[in-house]
């Protein structure tokens, strides 16, 4: 047997699985199809400080571009709700470095890493697996007990092993983002969110600062077949003076699955983690924290499976049950809020914004916007219900 576990995909979910599994003494191979881990970036790069602390990820200037203290949430009429704390509560990461460092931490813990290595297929053999890999023109196989599909939205491990993880068009957002410099940010210490059907139908636009005058400016929409996310973003930028004078120095593109977690994330010898398991928060589209938390759970269950020599779906359900316990309820709550938001007209969103601004929200303990929305008092929920 070459490895206890082979992990396909070196994003945060895959690397955290590899790191934890290696720390637990397993023989681990982490495979990445790209030549360089972390590239190209497909992320808005905003995340909560609390989550990274909980995961034991060191505060390293190499991959933390900027710290933020809260959010401005703009309703369609351009008025904003300010939720700002005294102390920093968010990071805007440099994902190309963050992903690389996570893989580096995994390698330090003992995991083998192969980049520019493309997974071509999986074969079952005597209760184990053979993974077909391709590195440049060399095609070869490695044997393992468990494979982890941390292979993202376009992942194929689910496809190959009968785990249904495709997304319906109505359950995904189509996203485009520029990294921009030379912006006149009014407050570079907050992440900005813009809501509205004309701005970003079925999604939102964001401005996440990475410096005094640098930010990720992006937008996600639920695709309709008319205008692309790209066209919406260009319109958004040209309609804001503080953005349109900025210079675009990079662009990222991608789909985010926002249907909530998949119904089945394990089968014999196989686990799915992160975007591949739709661990993404359906409201914010944020996926890093959940992917890493679930990756850590996956590694612990793999350790137990190796100890008991039991790689059956029945045993691996332990992973599924544990991640559902940890993040399942939050994902389902976000899904519900998202479904309510999607039904709101611009005018209704304006009314909600006005209602919230009128309330003394004070200092909320916020990790993400979803949490802040969910911590609002019952009279707010009633107010929203009265609008629908």
């Amino acid at each position: 047997m070459d490895y206890d576990t082979v992990i396909i995909g070196a994003g945060p979910g895959g690397s955290m699985t590899a790191k934890t599994a290696a720390e637990l003494g397993l023989d681990v191979l982490l495979v990445e199809k790209r030549p360089e881990i972390g590239m190209p970036v497909r992320c808005g790069e905003g995340t909560g400080i609390k989550g990274l602390k909980e995961l034991g990820i060191p505060k390293n200037k190499k991959y933390i571009a900027w710290e933020t203290k809260g959010e401005y949430i703009y309703s369609p009429d351009g008025k904003r709700l300010e939720i700002v704390e005294d102390e920093p509560n968010g990071y805007v990461l440099e994902r190309r470095m963050f992903d690389k460092y996570l893989a580096l931490y995994a390698a330090k813990a003992g995991a083998d890493i192969r980049t520019r290595t493309y997974a071509m297929g999986i074969k079952r053999e005597n209760g184990f697996l053979r993974i077909k890999l391709k590195h440049f023109n060399e095609v070869y196989e490695v044997s393992c007990k468990i494979v982890v599909g941390a292979d993202g939205i376009e992942g194929t491990v689910g496809k190959w092993t009968g785990l249904e993880n495709r997304t319906k068009l109505s359950q995904m957002t189509s996203n485009v983002q520029y990294e921009m410099v030379g912006l006149k940010l009014e407050n570079p210490e907050v992440m900005e969110f813009y809501l509205g059907r004309k701005i970003a139908p079925g999604g939102y636009a964001w401005v996440f600062p990475k410096g005094e005058d640098i930010a990720n400016v992006g937008l996600g929409i639920r695709p309709t077949g008319k205008d692309t996310a790209f066209e919406y973003l260009n319109r958004f930028i040209s309609s804001h003076d503080y953005l349109k004078k900025g210079k675009k120095v990079g662009m990222v593109v991608g789909g985010v699955p926002v249907q909530g977690p998949i119904t089945k994330s394990v089968t014999d010898n196989v686990l799915l983690v992160g975007d591949a398991a739709r661990h993404v928060d359906p409201l914010t589209g944020g996926g890093m924290y959940n992917a890493m938390v679930c990756g850590r759970i996956a590694a612990k269950v793999i350790r137990e499976a190796v100890d008991t020599q039991n790689f059956s779906e029945e045993f691996l359900m332990k992973y599924e049950n544990e991640w559902r316990e940890k993040v399942g309820a939050g994902l389902m709550r976000s899904l519900k809020v998202k479904e309510v938001l999607e039904k709101l007209s611009d005018e209704q969103m304006n009314q909600i914004g006005k209602f919230l601004r009128g309330m003394k929200i004070g200092k909320l303990d916020i990790k993400e916007v979803s949490t802040s929305l969910l911590k609002l008092p019952p009279e707010f929920i009633k107010f929203v219900e009265s609008l629908l």
């Binding site: 995904m172 309709t224 790209f230 066209e231 593109v253 789909g255």
Partner: protein
């Protein structure tokens, strides 16, 4: 169906294809199996930059 050269290789199309007819190859290309394709147009709508055509 065809893919424009400006495709960013993000894989969104492959994820939404109901026929599993789109794969990302190892040489950073989106490959559409036009025999399996049912011309539903879902990939065309999903693409963030409008890089798929041929309906």
């Amino acid at each position: 169906m065809e893919v424009e050269e400006y495709c960013c290789y993000c894989g969104t199309c492959s994820n939404v294809c109901p026929e599993k007819a789109i794969e990302l190859s190892d040489n950073e290309k989106v490959e559409i199996d036009n025999n399996a394709c049912i011309k539903c147009g879902i990939c065309v709508k999903a693409c963030p930059v409008g890089a798929i055509y041929g309906l």
